[in-house]
């Protein structure tokens, strides 16, 4: 007898940061198409449109309709907005995006990268290969605040410096002041936590400003991100797309049989795009793991599914993935890539295998907060 489950799928496929969530929706739906024997999944897709208030309302509607599992959310602010709702209804959110850590809800399965899997490898790489002076920019919300805080402490602990931090509102594309400030500070590199349209506007404006001054931007002021993915490179567009570093657990250029099959199936299913991304893969992984756990548990009961998911070993496009029973975060394989003119990434370095998640950085950070030696930090917006 085939078991049938309705699963919520909640991504902002419209709004100021919709490009990556559209690829996430595709990733989740692709997993649904790869049906398991004896199990059918009906995705119930909702779109909060980038409106923070809509997330909780839509979550409530999904859960009150009897749905117990939702794959969704891209931004950390949206995730934090809906967690109380999932805890109240004792349901499970499958959160498929890299994030800043320092959270471990019993009602969330985290399939995106934790900070020890993206920002810390990036710090080590930049200090070894580029230089010790960073200029930080980001969108003005929890992701950029916390990720920059982790980055700053890691840099300071290694004797390096953060020259300044600048934040802009989500969706703000007036970015010239930030570009001028970077050119004036002349950092070794730029650490970028912008999202959505602000991000694309920054890459274009920064490249144009450097070109106008005869500066080879990728060589002189490389930009490194923990968010930059292939669909976003396509949004940045020709002329500003190559030479950017990204720390991620997945790139579409990975030459593994599982990834080749994934990217081919994705292209066939969604020829209109957007391209695959790390978050699309994380969404695919989340839905695959959920389906495997539902099949093993034989029920959508949250506790039974949580227990079952920690027993799964998924050969994902990025490599082996499994869920840590203690933190409900994923073992993932960190990599650093550099973008090329085809809006794809060439992989520079990668870990030997899956790295355990450390969402609170208990294994990867000093006991005490590292005091910054920088007295010039300021928030401008």
């Amino acid at each position: 007898m085939s078991r049938h489950y309705r699963i919520g799928v909640m991504f902002s496929t419209t709004g100021p940061y919709s490009v990556v969530p559209r690829s996430m929706l595709n990733g989740a739906l692709l997993a649904v198409r790869e049906a398991l024997p004896g199990l059918t999944v009906e995705p119930v897709v909702v779109n909060p449109g980038g409106d923070l208030a809509a997330y909780a309302a839509l979550s409530r509607e999904l859960l009150q309709s009897g749905i117990r599992h939702v794959v969704g959310c891209y931004t950390s602010s949206s995730r934090k907005e809906v967690i109380p709702c999932f805890e109240k209804h004792d349901a499970l959110l499958w959160y498929p995006s890299h994030y800043e850590g320092f959270e471990s809800s019993n009602n969330v399965i985290y399939t995106g990268a934790s900070p020890n899997q993206h920002v810390l490898p990036l710090v080590d790489h930049m200090l070894a290969h580029v230089g010790p002076r960073a200029f930080c920019i980001g969108s003005n919300y929890i992701w950029a605040w916390e990720n920059t805080r982790i980055f700053r402490e890691a840099m300071t602990a290694r004797g390096a410096r953060v020259l300044a931090e600048r934040y802009v509102a989500v969706g703000d594309t007036e970015i010239d002041q930030v570009v001028d400030a970077i050119l004036e500070a002349r950092p070794s590199f730029v650490f970028n936590n912008l999202i959505g349209t602000s991000n694309y506007a920054f890459f274009r404006a920064f490249r144009a400003a450097c070109n106008a001054r005869g500066i080879d931007q990728p060589r002189t002021f490389p930009v490194v991100s923990c968010t930059l993915s292939e669909p976003e490179l396509e949004e940045i567009g020709e002329g500003a797309v190559e030479g950017h570093l990204s720390s991620s657990v997945y790139f579409s250029s990975l030459a593994t049989p599982a990834n080749r099959a994934f990217t081919r199936a994705y292209r066939e299913a969604f020829p209109e795009g957007p391209s695959t991304s790390a978050d699309a893969e994380a969404s695919y992984i989340a839905m695959k793991l959920l389906m495997l756990a539902l099949a093993e548990a034989g029920t959508d009961d949250v506790e039974a599914v949580k227990a079952a998911v920690t027993r799964q070993h998924l050969l994902a496009p990025q490599g082996e993935v499994r869920i840590d029973p203690q933190t409900l975060h994923a073992y993932l394989t960190p990599r650093i890539g550099i973008s090329n003119g085809d809006a794809r990434f060439d992989i520079l370095v990668e870990a030997a295998g899956p790295v355990p998640p450390d969402p609170y950085l208990v294994q990867s950070s000093p006991r005490y907060a590292v005091a910054s030696r920088n007295s010039t930090l300021r928030v401008v917006k």
């Binding site: 471990s104 019993n106 203690q326 933190t327 208990v362 294994q363 000093p366 006991r367 005490y368 907060a369």
Partner: protein
């Protein structure tokens, strides 16, 4: 300078004093995620079976259930209500008498029962860092008290130096400060020792007592 913030609790040891293990299940699970080992302290005739003297301020944390009737005999500094290790209160019955007991134990953060996992990191962060801050303030107060008590010796030493060397009070103070640094003592202790060392000389016939100088 304020103490540095502790934000990574890995290696910590939590001792949970409660009679309601089911109310702290999420606390035990979340502490494990934070790298903190945790155990529920056995209660014997209503008293916690724990060797308080063996607790270490930089590792141990006490979670105390406010619903229990005085389960611990903590050696609290009455003035500052500063226990030897951080105390985080577990609040069940939200009544003044119960909360007062936790305040008297020196609790610097609170968790409602049954404990929600999402509140644990915040409680640890606040509880431990407030404990460190209070300890720092206590040390500063103690230092101020010590200096206040030594003030009389400093005044006496300045006047004595003025008399001995024929210098004004600023120069006398500077000399005492320099000598105290040279002898690696704080100013108050140095002045106290200086006056004690100087006293026998004045007991010799022909020497005026110090108070005679003060009357000038």
């Amino acid at each position: 300078m304020a103490p540095r913030l502790l934000q990574n609790f890995n290696g910590g040891r939590a001792h949970i004093v409660t009679a309601s293990p089911s109310a702290v299940e999420a606390l035990l699970a979340t502490l494990g995620k934070l790298g903190v080992s945790a155990s529920i302290v056995e209660l014997v005739n209503g008293r916690a079976g724990i060797d308080l003297a063996a607790l270490q301020a930089d590792r141990d944390i006490l979670f105390v259930d406010g619903d229990l009737d005085n389960p611990l005999a903590l050696d609290i500094d009455a003035g500052a209500r500063q226990p030897a290790v951080p105390v985080i209160g577990l609040v069940g019955v939200e009544a003044p008498s119960r909360l007062k007991q936790l305040v008297h134990l020196g609790a610097t953060a609170f968790l409602r029962k049954p404990v929600q996992g999402g509140a644990v990191y915040t409680a640890l962060f606040l509880g431990i860092n407030q404990f460190l801050l209070r300890g720092d303030l206590r040390a500063r107060l103690d230092d101020m008290d010590r200096r206040r008590r030594g003030r009389r010796a400093v005044v006496k030493a300045i006047i004595a130096r003025m008399t001995d060397a024929g210098v004004d009070d600023d120069e006398a103070y500077e000399w005492l400060r320099r000598e105290s640094m040279r002898s690696r003592q704080n100013l108050e202790d140095y002045c106290d020792a200086f006056m004690k060392k100087r006293a026998p000389a004045f007991e010799q016939p022909g020497n005026e007592p110090l108070r005679g100088v003060a009357r000038k």
